[in-house]
Each structure stands twice: as structure tokens, then as C-alpha cells.
Amino acid sequence: MPAGPPEPRPRRRLPGNLVTGAAIVLAVALAALLGPWVAPFPYDEFHIRDRLKAPDAVYWFGTDEYGRDVFSRVLAGSRISLFMGVAATAVSLVCGVALGLAAGFFRGRIDEWLMRLMDLLMSFPPVILGLLILAVTPPSLWKTVLAVGIVYIPAIVRVTRSVTLELVQEEFILAARARGESAGYILFREILPNAWPPIIVEASLRVTFAILLGAALSFLGMGAQPPSSDWGLMISEARSYLDQAWWMAVFPGLVMCLTVVGINLLGDGLREWLDPRLRHGGA
């Protein structure tokens, strides 16, 4: 008998952070989807007479040095950021899960070499690895996505591998092997369905990292290129006008923070909801 209260029967109540996070993410996703119809102006329309105007009733977030509406640009930027986060995570998820499963299941040589390769990838700081990948070819959004995706493959591989290593020890896997099941069946029908929860949680974390890294690369001029309304790029461009137009930097920044906080809340909520141990510990 363990200490503490006896395990109550599992009941699933959605944690508050899950709901809050989901609401924020949903709002940002809606903005990304409906942006072009909702936005008061096209994101790249110049209003030369209204350059660097402070926020008012027409330009809610003010205008930039070309008189473009910051609010419309921020809306349009949500599309890039979400795409960045989701697509890059998808890249690392697909590669990472496949490699992680293989390493954890077959172990031995394959595991050894894969993990060395991951160590190598991880021995570069993420921003620098991203920069290096982007430096090879002229920057474009697609390449940024790919670069960010590659940077976070090792993280997904590690999580997948460790949960696979644990699951392989389980007796129901031995039972499958006692039936002579193929490696494919065991990997995809027995292991993967049980490995999802930690991978999902890790992936949700990676979405925020991917958004931040993508924005950082754009900020450094190696990601999205003008006249794109990528949030990182907007902040970078705003640096020259900090004295005259603080809104140019502050609003994209705030919206980006809100988005990332939302996804983090969602991820933490998912973790609590999926992890039965945390579900009762209240940690």
C-alpha cells in the first residue's frame, strides 16, 4: 500500500489551463484563417501620408514607416507564425518519431549510431544550427520551416526513444512476441498508441519553440524577407524607429507572447490531462 490517499477511480475533468490555452490558440488560429477578411487593410498597403502614426481609431496598433497598418500586419503574421510552428513541428515529429521508435525498438548498433548523430546535432546551439542551415541557401519561409524542424528532431527522438525503451519491457509486448508478431505490428499497433501522450506533450512544447526560433531567425534577417509581416521581422524592422514608434515593436511582440503563452498553457494542460500521476498530484 503506498502512502497518501488511495487512488480514486480515474475521472477526467479538463484542467483550467487546458481550456484557457485552447481558447487562446483557437482565437489565434481563427485570426490566421480569417485574417484577410477581418483585417481593415491589406497587410502590405502603403499609406504614405499616415507614416508612423500612433494607435488611433483607424489604425488600432498604429502604422509603420511606410504607413502600413500594424494591426493588419500582425493579423497576417499570425498565419506565418502558426504555419511556422505547426509545419516545423510536423517535420520534427515525423522524422523524430520514426527514428526514436527505431532506436528504442531495435537498440544495438542502430541505436548507438542514431544517438551519436543526435548528439552531434544537439552539440550546436539551436539558433546557430538554424543559421547555419539557412546560410547554405538563400532564405525563404520553407527553408526556415525545414531548418527549425531539423533543429528539434533530436528532442523528439529522445522522448520517443525513451518511452519506447520503457514500453518494450512491458509484458504485453513480450506477449506479442510470443505470438511471433512482426516488428511493424509491434511498433505501430502495440507501442505507438501507448507512446503518444508524452510525444504529444513534447510536440506541443516544440510548437512554441519553433515559433520563437522562427521569429528569432527572421529577426536576424535569415528567415522571412520583406515585405513579409512575420512578427520577428516586424520587430527587427521596428528597431530603427524605437524612438518615434514604439508600437511597431510592442504590438507584434505582445501578440506573439500571447500566442506562445496560449500554446504553453495548452501543452501543460495536456500533460496534466494525459499523465495519470500528475492528474492526482496537483503538481
Binding site: 552539440s123 550546436f124 546557430i128 538563400p138 528569432a216 510592442v250
Partner: protein
């Protein structure tokens, strides 16, 4: 333990060598003709030919690599193509400035991060805990470059307390030097403190739930002994591993933060090199950063082993 350290050092040397090959290979793939970069758009074919011969760009790659690598072994990182100066001194200077910045940030991260995490765990679900948790949420959600800009806006533009960036050597007054260091350092620290404190909190909570802490309570030990002698040491183990990874983050962050604050350190040098495709400079800076990162990981592993008898004594037991 000594054997282990030596083994790890050998592995690091090997890794650095692999890295040098990789860097060399990658820079070969970079588009753009080096000679044309040096001479400009309108150079004649003859001039380009001459420069290529002089730089040895016509030799086979293996020869080029061998030459480059043997120079590096002698501490000669070659000539920057853009700055047209030897890289060694430039790199050393930038590295020195960044090292101070990184060290200051790291000390802040480790001490404040762990402290906050422990306090939050011990005061679980109290106001302090909630405050720390909100703080760390902000920390991990807000990118460094935005913090940097917000910092400049508030402290330099609006309040006028600090300069908005740049660098001033310590020789020209400690105050100036420090005023230009504190902005980048705090910005760099914020994200990582959040990261470390979150992790410390959760591993501390886990340790406090463990059987041996219950056993320590059953012995009737005072709470402070339970916390510091029984729980903290074991709770710190995962934090140490993460701190090593955070050193990598720190160097990634340095690139961004130094750009924001126009701080002439290693990070700016990397960004500059990549932006301008300065091949020798890219190779040199990245090799140095990788080396630092590997050493940080080694240090973390040694500290981990020192705190964890299960690893320290693994080989002595049968």
C-alpha cells in the same frame, strides 16, 4: 573518475574534429564565389583566377582541408574575407567580451533559477508559487529579442537610466562597462531562469514525494534538514543536465541579444559572418562555440557524477 574524464576529453576532441570536417564541407556548399565576393561584382575573370590561385581555392578539397585544419591546430584561424584582418585576434577579443556576458548570465540563471524553483516547490500552491509560475510562464513564452527591445524601450528611451547598447571597456570606468553589460545579461537570463526554475520546482516536488523523504520524516528530522540534506541534492540532478543544455541556449541567445544591444561579442560576430558569408569566420566562430558547448556538457556530467554516488561508484561494485 580521472579515466572517465580523460575518455570524455578524447571524445570531445574527436567530436570537434568531426565538426571541423562538417563545417568545412558545409562552407563548401555555400553559394557564391569567394573571389568574386572579395573583388566585387565587376571583377574580371583574370583577376578572379589570380585570387583563386593565391588563396589555394583551386587545390583539391582534401588539400584545402588539410591546410586549413593544420593552421587551426596552430591557432591560426586564417583571414576574414570581409574584414580583411586575421581572425584570431578579432575572435579572441569578441570571445572575451561574450565570456564575461555569458558567465554573468549563467551565474544568475543557476542561482536565481534554482532558488526560485525550490521556493516554489516548498511553498506549493501558495502565492509565492503562483507568482513564480506566472513569471516563468512569461519567461519561456517571450522571445529574447522582444525582451531586449522592451528593455531598451523602458530603461533607455523612457527612463533614460541606461545606455541603449554598445560596449565600453572596463578600463574606461566600471560604471559604463557594467551599465552596458547589465541589459544584455538580464535579457539573456530571463528565459533561462524561467526554464531552470520550472524544472527545479517539478523535480523538487517529485523528490519530496519520494519514499526516502517520507522515511526521513518518519525519523522525525527537522524540516530544514529534510529539505536541504535529503531532498535538494537529489532534486538538483536533473537540473544540472538541463543547465548544460541551457549553456547551448545561452550561446544561441547571445547571437540574438548581442544583435539587439549592438554588443560586439562572439554572437554578433557569428551573425555577421553568416550574414556576409565570410567562410573562414563562420568556420572559426562555430568551432569555438561547439568547443565551449562540449566543455560545458563535460563539466555538467562531472558535476552530476560528483553529486550522484550511483554513477561515481558504479565501477567499484560487483
Amino acid at each position: 573518475m580521472i579515466l572517465y574524464t580523460l575518455r570524455r576529453l578524447a571524445l570531445i576532441v574527436l567530436l570537434l574534429w568531426v565538426m571541423s570536417v562538417l563545417l568545412f564541407a558545409i562552407t563548401q556548399v555555400l553559394p557564391g564565389n569567394v573571389a568574386r565576393m572579395i573583388l566585387g561584382q565587376f571583377a574580371t575573370a583574370d583577376a578572379i583566377e589570380a585570387v583563386e590561385t593565391r588563396l589555394g581555392l583551386k587545390d583539391p578539397l582534401v588539400v584545402q582541408y588539410g591546410r586549413w585544419f593544420s593552421h587551426i591546430l596552430r591557432g591560426d584561424f586564417g583571414q576574414s574575407l570581409i574584414m580583411e584582418r586575421p581572425i584570431g585576434p578579432v575572435l579572441a577579443e569578441a570571445l572575451g567580451r561574450s565570456a564575461v556576458l555569458a558567465a554573468l548570465s549563467f551565474v544568475l540563471v543557476a542561482s536565481v533559477g534554482i532558488l526560485l524553483g525550490v521556493i516554489a516547490a516548498v511553498r506549493k500552491n501558495r502565492p509565492v508559487d503562483h507568482a513564480v509560475s506566472v513569471f516563468s510562464y512569461l519567461g519561456i513564452s517571450v522571445p529574447e529579442f522582444f525582451w531586449g527591445i522592451a528593455f531598451i524601450l523602458v530603461f533607455a528611451r523612457w527612463l533614460g537610466w541606461l545606455p541603449s547598447g554598445g560596449y565600453s571597456p572596463m578600463g574606461e570606468g566600471f560604471g559604463n562597462w557594467f551599465a552596458r553589460l547589465i541589459g544584455p545579461a538580464l535579457t539573456l537570463t530571463f528565459t533561462l531562469i524561467a526554464h531552470v526554475s520550472r524544472l527545479t520546482r517539478s523535480s523538487m516536488l517529485e523528490t519530496l514525494r519520494s519514499r526516502y523523504v517520507l522515511a526521513a520524516r518518519a525519523k522525525g528530522l527537522p524540516e530544514r534538514v529534510i529539505l536541504f540534506r535529503h531532498a535538494l541534492r537529489n532534486a538538483l540532478l536533473p537540473t544540472i543536465t538541463v543547465l548544460a543544455i541551457d549553456v547551448g541556449w545561452l550561446f544561441g541567445g547571445i547571437v540574438v541579444v548581442e544583435t539587439v544591444f549592438a554588443f560586439p561579442g562572439l554572437g554578433r560576430l557569428v551573425a555577421f559572418a553568416i550574414e556576409r558569408r565570410d567562410l573562414p569566420l563562420i568556420q572559426a566562430t562555430l568551432l569555438v562555440i561547439t568547443a565551449i558547448y562540449c566543455l560545458a556538457n563535460l563539466a555538467a556530467d562531472l558535476l552530476y557524477a560528483a553529486l550522484n554516488p550511483r554513477i561515481r561508484y558504479a565501477r567499484r561494485t560487483s
